[in-house]
Symmetry: C2
Subunit: 95 residues, 2 copies
């Protein structure tokens, strides 16, 4: 699970990152993914200061490791990393 | 997306919360869910100090609102809220 905080938070940059993630999500190594933006919810516990979320499921830990050096991933970083100032990643395995 | 930080981080409390979330995940209002624990990944950007993650997809915003007062949800809070000291929630909608 990735949460991106943009360098300049506006709709054009959000759109650029979303399009980059759409290309990235086509990587065959990815099992399931979802690209999101903050919902308009306001409960106390909600962290909504990020700009774009990306949920990704890999088939297994080996696939996740391979992804780190996958050309599609490296291309995405090259094209889009200037867009964000911070990214927070939560890696989870089945409980 | 929910990240729970336990009051007392040990395997017994983790198991209790996971079991609570398994019961909660059976709520008919929920479309898809995944219960996780931190993966053993160590990249700089990875936040792995949480104890349990819970991913949940609702059919739509109305379902998410209904969930807030769903008896299964309220029962879960009653039974399990003593287990955590902090919960961080990220609500996303389709980009």
């Amino acid at each position: 699970m990735f949460f991106f905080y943009l360098t300049q938070s506006d709709s054009a940059n959000t759109q650029s990152l979303v399009e980059g993630l759409e290309r990235l999500s086509k990587a065959p190594i990815i099992k399931q993914s979802h690209i999101g933006i903050p919902a308009e919810t306001t409960r106390d516990v909600v962290e909504n200061s990020y700009d774009v979320s990306w949920l990704v499921f890999f088939h297994d830990a080996t696939a996740q490791e391979s992804y780190q050096t996958d050309p599609i991933h490296l291309q995405f970083v090259k094209e889009c990393s200037h867009l964000w100032k911070k990214v927070v990643v939560y890696d989870s395995v089945n409980a």
